[in-house]
């Protein structure tokens, strides 16, 4: 019976082999591309809707904000010096620190002075991006 079925099924089978394993591997990598696309779309949407929630100005301040006042800059420069000193000490002791070169740039305004509280105090913040990709921050209250 098996032979009989084999005989009948044989003409229905397409013997051509058009397989392409490289195509399979290419398709298998697509979910990563999809994830990247979703992340890009999400970031774009976040940027577009940020102004609607009053966040847009603060985001722009990170890029376009005026340099922080001299006292804040002095504070950051002091922090940099202390950091450099610690790293130099660690390097002299033979310690490898991956974030050795995370120095501070000039601080820029991050928080808007519009964040005025009922008390009349104004809080301003400064964001300090570092060369290693991390960031620090500082806040300062100002009385009216």
């Amino acid at each position: 019976m098996t032979d009989l079925l084999e005989k009948h099924f044989a003409p229905l089978r397409n013997p051509s082999n058009d397989s392409d394993w490289l195509d399979v591997r290419r398709r298998a990598r697509r979910p990563w591309r999809r994830a990247v696309l979703v992340a890009v779309v999400a970031a774009t949407v976040a940027l577009l809707v940020a102004p609607a929630f009053g966040v847009g100005g603060r985001v722009l301040d990170l890029i376009q904000g005026k340099p922080a006042p001299p006292p804040v800059q002095t504070s950051f420069v002091g922090g940099n010096a202390a950091r450099q000193q610690r790293f130099a000490f660690a390097a002299a002791a033979g310690l490898a620190l991956h974030d050795r070169f995370r120095l501070l740039f000039l601080a820029r305004r991050a928080a808007s002075p519009r964040s005025r509280r009922r008390t009349g105090r104004s809080i301003s913040g400064w964001h300090q991006p570092r060369t290693g990709g991390t960031a620090g921050s500082s806040k300062r209250e100002t009385r009216p």
């Binding site: 019976m1 098996t2 032979d3 009989l4 079925l5 084999e6 009948h8 099924f9 003409p11 229905l12 089978r13 397409n14 013997p15 051509s16 082999n17 058009d18 397989s19 392409d20 394993w21 195509d23 399979v24 591997r25 290419r26 398709r27 298998a28 990598r29 697509r30 979910p31």
Partner: protein, 159 residues
């Protein structure tokens, strides 16, 4: 490439033609069946860590490829038994077999397709259909009997 990826590649190289021919009875053409096989193996490769390793790899990939074929048909639900149609693959080449297959109950027809198109073993058919091997053997025996009655001139079994 890890061991599981190599196993999937080996399966693909050995069984591609069978998978494509079997899925052609779902999609209706070799071209769309090819695409479903490619997509099925790609998905299997991408999520190979989900395969627990205690069952048949061929059956696991088959289920994924079948879902891809159903999606190609615009269906997201359905069982293989209901969607595999002998009329979809060159019925003019063997009208007698096409007619005989059409008379089989869907589950028997599915097992015949998996056996003679996809070249599945009884164990792989059992895993793909989530039944025991004994059930596969019994179902195929019944299918053979029905087909023999329709196909052989004297209507007798030749087991």
């Amino acid at each position: 490439m890890d061991e599981r990826a190599r196993a999937i590649e080996e399966l693909y190289r050995e069984r591609y033609v069978g998978f494509r021919n079997a899925l052609a009875t779902v999609t209706g053409s070799n071209e769309t069946a090819r695409d479903a096989v490619q997509e099925g193996f790609a998905r299997a490769l991408a999520c190979r860590k989900q395969f627990r390793g205690d069952g048949s790899l061929a059956a696991w990939v088959w289920r994924i490829a079948l879902r891809a074929a159903l999606q190609a048909r615009g269906e997201h639900r359905g069982s293989a038994a209901e969607v595999m149609d002998p009329q979809l693959v060159a019925p003019e080449r063997n009208p007698a077999l096409t007619a005989a297959l059409a008379t089989l109950p869907p589950r028997r027809r599915l097992m015949v397709f998996l056996r003679y198109f996809a070249d599945f073993s009884y164990a792989e058919i059992a895993a793909a259909c989530e039944v025991s091997e004994g059930t596969v053997a019994a179902t195929l025996a019944q299918a053979h009997q029905s087909l023999a009655a329709s196909l052989s001139p004297e209507g007798a079994m030749h087991d």
